[in-house]
Structure formats: structure tokens, C-alpha cells
Amino acid sequence: MNSDAAKEVLSAYRSGDRDGADPFFHEALKQMESDSELKKWFDEQHDLDRAIREKLASIEPPPDLQAKILARIRGEKVRRFALPQVWLAAAACLLVGGIAWFYSAQKQGPDRFQEFKTDALAMVSAEGGPVLDLWTSNITETQSYLREHQAPYDEWLPNRLKSMETAGCRAFVWKDYPASLTCFRLPDGMLLHLVVIHREAMGNANIPVGMKSMGDWHLMFQQKDGMLMMWATQAPMEQLKQIVVKIAVKPRLGKA
């Protein structure tokens, strides 16, 4: 092994006891005993590696990051435990076509609304979570993004949501109508989804009011200023009520 080959091998050597026992490095390490130039190069390289690692280690994660990660993992454990029921319920509803669901709303042209509800729920309950255009914890950023992409969104959110982090948002088109999805992170790690679309996208369908449960999903529909808003979460229904029903007094919606 010549000096250049030894340097290349030793470039991958990590100090301490991590690589000392790896026979891959033995020959190159042994060569240093008889090659002072190689030894000097290695010592400098070793010092540089240590210095770089020390500097990079000074980058500190946010103080609450570990707690956030653990909260989300616990939320996932709860979700995984309930998953078979969720999918069974969702599959049943999709197969049956949701005919029994919102039955009273179907008397006058319910198809559009039914389709929307099914599509929106399928979107938010996708395995691994919904696909998002923008990942951000900042609600202002999600609103800016949706505004820039001509998607309708709730400009005046319930007060309790304003202080919550978001997971992100998505602008999409449903049946030629612009729509948006914004995902909020609840304190226990669960997600709360808000889908917003123009009311006229529903045609003549009656929109049911109040809260509904669909398997493990809790849904609520609201109409404001020509917009239809669908809230969906797997968090307890009581939590959804606390956040959404006791809302800010001045709801207003951004224009698409």
C-alpha cells in the first residue's frame, strides 16, 4: 500500500474505539509507524475531523423538539391501535357508498356533496397522512401559500387554532373548483384537517350541519361566506367541539 492509498483508507477512519478494531484499517495504521509524513498527515486529519465534529455539535436542536417527537410517536401508537377499526369503517363506508350517511342530505341532489365528503375523507385519511404541498408549522405561511395559489382558506381561524402549529397545507382542485387542505397539530400529536371549497361546488345539495362520526373519524361541516368547510380529525369529538364550535365570532373567508 503506498502513501496515497493509505491516506484514502485513513480518511474514513473515525477516532476512538469506533474503528480501531476494524481490520480494514490495520495495514494503513501500521504503515504510519514507518512513514513519518503519513503520520503527520494523519494527525492533522484527525485534528481537523475532531474540530469539525465539535463545531457541528454546537448546533442545538429546539428545546421542545424531543417532547414534540415523543408526543407524535404516542399519537401514532394510539392511531395504530385503532387503525383496523378505522379502515374497516372507512372501507365499509366507501363500499356502501356512504348511502346511509347523511341520508337526510341526499333528498335534493346529494351526489356532489357525497362525492366531496368521500373524496375529502379519503384524502385526509390516506395511509401515512395526507400529501401536502408545503410542510410548515407556521399558520401564516400556510395562508400565504394558499393565497398565492388562489385556493380558498379560512382567514379568521378559531382562536384556539391560531396558537397551534400546523403540519402544512395543500392547494388542490376538486371538480374544477379550487380547494385547500390545512393540517393542524393538536397538543396530543393528533392532526386536525380543514378542507375548504366554494359552496357552489356542491350544486343544489343540502349540506348537513353538526358533527358526525365515521369510524374513528369525526367530521363537521360549516358554511361561511359562500364557502364550505369540512373539519376532520381522529381526536375525540369533544376536543373537536372545543376547538371548532367555540369559534371566533368573526369568521371570514379569503377569496379564491
Binding site: 474540530a51 423538539l65 410517536i73 408549522s137
Partner: protein, 174 residues
């Protein structure tokens, strides 16, 4: 039956280096936090599929990098919000996360290294992965890892010499 991973212990041990790796990739504190959280969430969801717990560390770093690249591809369809690392030097300068300016200097120098060498260096310095783990993580031969580490370190040293006071980071030659 697969053994349930001790996720809390894994998070406790690895969230900091994983965050640093995410920050080096994204140069954005918020995005780095999101990437770190998402990576552990993926582990929580897919833990039954993780057969070799000794490889969890490299699995996490590989997954985080894949998520970062996926996010970049997604952002590329929306130029308005595109945030490529090479365009984010300002974010680094403004961020309060870098308590030591030398860390910013190292990151800046790392960003200047050729991309094929940079990722190997990041996995070496930030993830502290062995050459074997880096090779497995990037799916490249061990010999390629060696040569990229060697050349990447040379580039990094050159860049650090240009951007940092020699006695700050570069070890003295004598």
C-alpha cells in the same frame, strides 16, 4: 413476532444528531425540526419492518435524507416556495440556532463541497456513520465512499482555509 422498539430511548439518543443533519441539509430551523419529527414518525409507523435494530441509526439518517429530497421535489413544482439549500445562506446567518459562528462557517464550507462528496461528508461528520454504513446508506461501493471522503475532505479543508481563520478550525501544521 417482531420486538417493539424502545422508541423513547432511540429518540433520546439520536434526535440531536438527526436534527443537525437535517439542518445541514435544509439550512432552515423549522424545516429541520419537521424533518426530524417526520423521520421518527416514519420509524414509529414502520418499526415492525425494521429487522436489524443495529441499523436503526443509519436507517434514520437515510430516511431523513430521502424525505428531504422528496420535499425538494415537491417544492420544485411550486417555485414560489422553493427553498434550495444553496440559496439559504441568509437563513443560516439569521438563525439563532447556531450559537457558535464556527458552526456556520463549517456549514457554509460544507455547502461549497461538490454534492457527491458533500453527502458522504455529512454522513461521516454529522451522522458519525462508518464507511460501511455510508456505503449501505447511499447504496454505493465501499471504495467509492473512501475516495469521496478523501476528496471531499480535501475540498472542505481548502474551503475552510479560505473562509475561516486558520487557527479557528484548521489544525496547525506544526
Amino acid at each position: 413476532m417482531p420486538t417493539e422498539l424502545d422508541l423513547e430511548r432511540i429518540v433520546s439518543e439520536l434526535y440531536s444528531p438527526l436534527y443537525r443533519f437535517a439542518f445541514a441539509l435544509s439550512r432552515n430551523e423549522s424545516q429541520a425540526s419537521d424533518l426530524t419529527q417526520e423521520t421518527f414518525l416514519i420509524l414509529a409507523k414502520q418499526q415492525a419492518q425494521v429487522r436489524d435494530i443495529t441499523k436503526i441509526k443509519s436507517w434514520l439518517f437515510t430516511t431523513l435524507r430521502r424525505e428531504f429530497l422528496r420535499g425538494l421535489r415537491s417544492q420544485s413544482t411550486h417555485p414560489e416556495v422553493e427553498l434550495k439549500p444553496e440559496h439559504q445562506d441568509q437563513l443560516v446567518a439569521d438563525s439563532g440556532v447556531l450559537k457558535a459562528s464556527d458552526a456556520a462557517t463549517v456549514l457554509e464550507a460544507l455547502a461549497g463541497v461538490d454534492e457527491s462528496y458533500r453527502i458522504v461528508l455529512e454522513l461521516f461528520y454529522l451522522a458519525d456513520l462508518s464507511y460501511k454504513e455510508i456505503a449501505a446508506s447511499l447504496d454505493i461501493p465501499i471504495g467509492t465512499v473512501m475516495s469521496r471522503l478523501s476528496r471531499g475532505k480535501e475540498q472542505l479543508r481548502t474551503l475552510l482555509t479560505k473562509t475561516a481563520p486558520p487557527d479557528k478550525i484548521i489544525p496547525r501544521s506544526n
